[in-house]
Symmetry: C2
Amino acid sequence: MSLLVDRRDLDFQLYEVLGIDDLCSLPRFEQHDRSTFDAVLESAYQLAEGEFAGHAAQLDANEPTFDGERVHIIPEVKAALDAYIEGGFLGAAFDEEVGGLQLPYSICQALAAVFTAANVGTAGYPFLSAAAANLLRVVGSPEQQARYMQPMIAGRFFGTMCLSEPQAGSSLGDIRTRAIAQTDGQGEGKYRIVGNKVWISGGEHDLAENIIHMVLARIEGAPAGTKGISLFIVPKFLVNEDGSLGERNGVRLAGLNHKMGYRGTVNTVLNFGEQDDCIGYLVGEPNQGLAGMFHMMNEARIGVGLGATVLGYTGYLHSLDYARTRLQGRKVSSPDPQGKPVAIIEHTDVKRMLLAQKASVEGALGLCLYCARLVDIQEASEDQAQREQAGLLLEILTPIAKAWPSDWCLEANKHAIQILGGYGYTRDYPVERFYRDNRLNPIHEGTNGIQALDLLGRKVVRGGGTSLKALLAEFSKTAEAAADYDELQEFSETLKQTVVTVGQTTQSLVAEAAGDADRFVANATSYLQMLGHAVIAWQWLRQALVAVQADAGHDTDRHFYAGKLAACRYFFRRELPAMELHARLVAQGEDSCLTMQAEYF
Amino acid sequence: MSLLVDRRDLDFQLYEVLGIDDLCSLPRFEQHDRSTFDAVLESAYQLAEGEFAGHAAQLDANEPTFDGERVHIIPEVKAALDAYIEGGFLGAAFDEEVGGLQLPYSICQALAAVFTAANVGTAGYPFLSAAAANLLRVVGSPEQQARYMQPMIAGRFFGTMCLSEPQAGSSLGDIRTRAIAQTDGQGEGKYRIVGNKVWISGGEHDLAENIIHMVLARIEGAPAGTKGISLFIVPKFLVNEDGSLGERNGVRLAGLNHKMGYRGTVNTVLNFGEQDDCIGYLVGEPNQGLAGMFHMMNEARIGVGLGATVLGYTGYLHSLDYARTRLQGRKVSSPDPQGKPVAIIEHTDVKRMLLAQKASVEGALGLCLYCARLVDIQEASEDQAQREQAGLLLEILTPIAKAWPSDWCLEANKHAIQILGGYGYTRDYPVERFYRDNRLNPIHEGTNGIQALDLLGRKVVRGGGTSLKALLAEFSKTAEAAADYDELQEFSETLKQTVVTVGQTTQSLVAEAAGDADRFVANATSYLQMLGHAVIAWQWLRQALVAVQADAGHDTDRHFYAGKLAACRYFFRRELPAMELHARLVAQGEDSCLTMQAEYF
């Protein structure tokens, strides 16, 4: 079995649970069927195992370096990316007419899962590039798309996102990079960009002919805060009208960040227009830069959740493999030292750590692919009501899909190390690397604290709570369906109770903290943890519902479905109850953190 | 303020809560008073800040290497250790007549806290050495003490513990290293040692003239399992009767382990008697090797808990320092982008992560120092009843003092990274290093899963549960005392309820799983988590009781005590309730993990 992501499970999630092949009835995907999906997945596994996984440890140990002029990256990265581009993966999500494969986003996320599990550092480059190209797809002009996006889809140019600045990490409204309109008569939309950006992944390298930076900046005289932010294209090399490369632009590498994990993806500090002129081209309307960026960012957040999930997933499979083969100790009931040691998977506490991982990573994978399917519906369905419903669900699920996997699949990586014991703590095994890599995910693309504020401060209350209602209605539907099966009665009841708890907690909070914004969001993280656990429980019941109905022809399948039911049971009984505690804190308006004074620390 | 361990808090814990200066009324410590304790603490802070902290990051980035002949360690380590030995810290706990300072173990642990917080890698060498010397103090013959222990206390020799073998990590009963009695007429107790040991910290280096390995092995013909294990002294260089060094002994370095953290302490694989003869000297009686080792191991486990605590503690102080100075964002209630950003400590969710750290690290520090004081009482009190009582409490508290801090102060380190955001994820700040270092602590000196088995399978049931009863009686005493104060009423009531919960849960488990050993310990980890949270709540109420009675003369003190009360409140309201969930699982005999089948994964 592959130690990246269990292919059997991926097929289960995509086809048996989500029915992704149904997307092929939509005009946008009518050229596909399950066989094309299977073929591209198969080829992703081959490429990931063959070209990505092999140098992951080496890349981690030999991170990119900067000699003052160039960034050096071990050559295996470019070789892998050339094969990736050759295989068409970079453009998988894009339209055929611009050189893409026009695959559903759901399938693209499944592909991303496989490459991330194999080598998160190397996979980072094309993922960022595809995200930048996707932003241009949504907000770029046809001319900008032709000049910048198409070479990115073809893999000739790579892209970045330049948002953060040293003084404004999470607070985008405080960015200061300036855009000064150029009046050289060479057309509108040309600006001089001056400022600094930090945390720019893929900000400098020789992996592609050119790098297209998507940069947030303020046009002179723009309003303060987020309403005065515009989006610009800043190419490393200017691009001539015929597509050939022109002069080097004044975006310069100031230094590299040296991280705990995710070391293979170079992370940079960039200066714009400090020594020499830096040209930027306005994308969309002035002061509307965040709107497009947020469209992209929602998908990026689901992508972060998926990345966190599969780092947890591959760690789980590595620890499972170890637990099956490592002989040590005996059952507590059979301590005879003359007896043979057992495989450690037979120890109940090891099973606990394996189940905790399984419940987290397979539950989170279900959620991320569910969200990906909603993106497909929202973008490609011909039924407006269906699109709106998908939009409502996505709105409330996105912060959870980002935060829950990044919290709990990191926890899964912690368990994987523990199962390997001292070996897990060494760099001879990859589980410590996954743990270091995954620690990034609660931080980037909006910290999990910011996801909590987004969830409670915006998503839950917006439109009179229609998003939350839509989500709880889905919970109820699943609970109703599960009620027909004896094995699922207990979980069906619990999920129904969960709907009540979430509803009552939200109402109590609204009643208790109405009009006091600080108080309202004081327990935002608890609210997110409450709803997050509820969402994962719902996802597990969806999976269990398929498992209980499945026709298991042979032992392998029978065991697979039994495992799904066991993990569902584990989650409902041992993890879900934590949501009661969070609900209680939220409903009571517990104020220990709100009232703590800075000088008391 | 020092960013190692808050000196104000250390004084609070040692003197205001534990009354450590009362130990000076015992004959063993009568030469000391608070002023000598203060002086040695002051000199520890100076040395730790001056010689240890400065090279911690450098040592992490430049871990020891092995060139096939020698181990190379950056020279700052030896310089720091020479100063440490010169300062008398290596022998702090030992009797004056063998060259020590004869300080209480409690004070020694406070010293260890300071050095560990400054540089866990460098501090590892003398700590291991002191532990090995302490083992000889307890089980060595006078001749062995003179020849090996005294040079260790003087810092001329260093020591190691050699327990684990490749095929027997946690399962000591399965070790295979052989001891073959020598019959060359040179006295009894001389053996030839043949085997392999792994995970030996400090197993090879040039930091001292000699290395004394304390090795577990089986004498030929010994019974299987733990009852056939003997303890041997295996010096790197044989030691002549006059104390001078003789021949190189046949213990050889086979390789180094490369770890995620704790990189500064060289960790080795050692071969004994593979190429050349390896001489070992029996310590104590044949087949009694584990008894002495376990005596030492109990202190080592408290030491691991303390190490985990202070890695969490220094991370907390670093993130607190950052949160006070980093300006970013605005209150949710004052979003005006023209307004000034606030220090992030003003954000409620940042306060939450600071309080979570404070509650964990100061609660855990209280527990570890409480245990250290029990060690002092057990070893130095003249009152037999008091010694026995201390022994009972130590028995049940030791697995908790090892496991709880290593779980929750690692979690604290996670929060510290989160507060620093992207910066926290870089190697420019130390918080990621603390997180990597601290990940070892749930693994070594008995994994936390093994601590849970030790707690529930041995300590809770032994002697009809007298240890648990003694502990719960202490809870009740504290709850009673707290009932006199309005501010503590709520917590007093909760702790009383906790006593009931622990008692009932234990009874339910005994009733439910009697006679089925596997079932009895199936939820051992939940039991440990339940009791662990209860113990920390009790520790917090002890601290709050002092804080509420304290006479705060000036603002600094007033804020300090207010912080103690706020952290106590945070822990009781937001963390302690998790124990209910664990108690429920234990009482119900929840069996998801027990019944999971290996083939279902």
